[in-house]
């Protein structure tokens, strides 16, 4: 367990090691679900929730199941199963308790299983051998960072919908350019905290 203050990990995973802008994770849904601010923000919330829960759960599974039973070579399969099961349970719970939110996010939830940000956070946590508190705060920070990035992109794309763009530029191309500029701005944070 590296001796880093969990709070530093939390802040760093939002700003300096942002999931999208410096680790390139979760790009697929980041690009495809960012044309409308409200939906994007909802998905960001769902991803944050799933990230916190899976970081905690996968940490426990890794520490108490995978390592003692010497199953490290099967870790990918186990992590994926945990994530898929959790998303399934979450979907059912949302359907039952928050039907409004479910109506909006229902179709995205299955996508979250294959959102690389989720598995990515787990793998980073394992590779850097974080402790429990560090892992949960890392998951939370990564989720918030992802949420922040997709919200910013969606807000800009809403405005861009009315702008005149060169042929072929609208859609993914302009999203990448915007993201590049955002990533450049986020380099400004580097040096404040480091967790690598």
């Amino acid at each position: 367990m590296p001796d880093i203050n969990p709070l530093i990990i939390f802040l760093a995973s939002i700003a300096t090691s942002n999931m999208v802008l410096s680790n390139f994770l979760g790009m697929c849904s980041y690009l495809s679900v960012s044309s409308e601010y409200k939906t994007a923000s909802g998905l960001g919330m769902a991803v944050t929730l799933v990230l916190v829960l899976t970081s905690a759960l996968n940490w426990a599974v890794y520490t108490y199941l995978i390592v003692p039973l010497d199953l490290v070579y099967l870790q990918y399969v186990i992590f994926i199963i945990v994530i898929a099961a959790l998303v399934q349970v979450l979907e059912m719970a949302m359907d039952r308790y928050t039907p409004d939110l479910h109506a909006k996010l229902g179709i995205f939830l299955p996508l979250i299983t294959v959102n690389c940000a989720i598995l990515g956070a787990t793998l980073f946590m394992v590779i850097r051998s974080y402790g429990f508190v560090q892992s949960v705060l890392y998951g939370l920070g990564s989720g918030l960072g992802w949420w922040l990035a997709i919200s910013m992109l969606a807000a800009m794309r809403e405005k861009l919908a009315k702008a005149k763009l060169p042929p072929g530029m609208s859609g993914p191309a302009i999203s990448f350019i915007i993201t590049g500029i955002m990533a450049m701005a986020f380099i400004g944070f580097s040096g404040i905290f480091t967790i690598q």
């Binding site: 802008l21 680790n23 994926i80 299983t113 294959v114 959102n115 690389c116 980073f124 060169p166 990448f176």
Partner: protein, 207 residues
Amino acid sequence: MPGNVTNTREIAKTQLWRENQVLRQILGICSSLAVTNSMKNSLVMGLGLSFVTALSSMTLSAMRDIIPHRVRMIVQTMVIAAYVILVDLALQAFLPDISKQLGPYVGLIITNCIIMGRAEAFAQKNPPLPAMWDGFFAGLGYTWVLLFIALIREVLGFGTVFGVNVDFIGFERWTIMIMPPAAFFIIGSMIWAMSARAQRLPTPNKK
């Protein structure tokens, strides 16, 4: 999406260029950005992905009649994960340095949308052999895009090609090229060029 093309040549042309997974379908972006500051890593990643896509497409196509519809996502993920584990173990055994540099991105091949995309769009409806070629060429299409991005980034950022020094060209190194923003700019421009070109071509089917 031409769903029933089973001619290997056609598949190759479609996957390598016309419907390139990265540039036209905008899939598999995560890793194409993350590993492209070095050509060696890009090549290893691309070949690993081609291997996984080809074999998992073939396996899933062979199993397509016996997988119940409701659980097919999880079955697909499991098959993909099994092949990724093979790749990961092979890399750890034979190329430990690269394995370490790629870090979590090898494991993340599991969640690479290209593989799932090919399994859903092609392997579901086609026999194993064409499915394998389809997956393989989809992987190669991904590989050349990766290598192209990596070439720009590595030459301008490190002054090397495949780790071989080409500094004699003689220019300042652009640190920005090895940082994340450059990856976004390069891939954004490539996608722009591809879709501008596709829009200009008068094709009978949809753009």
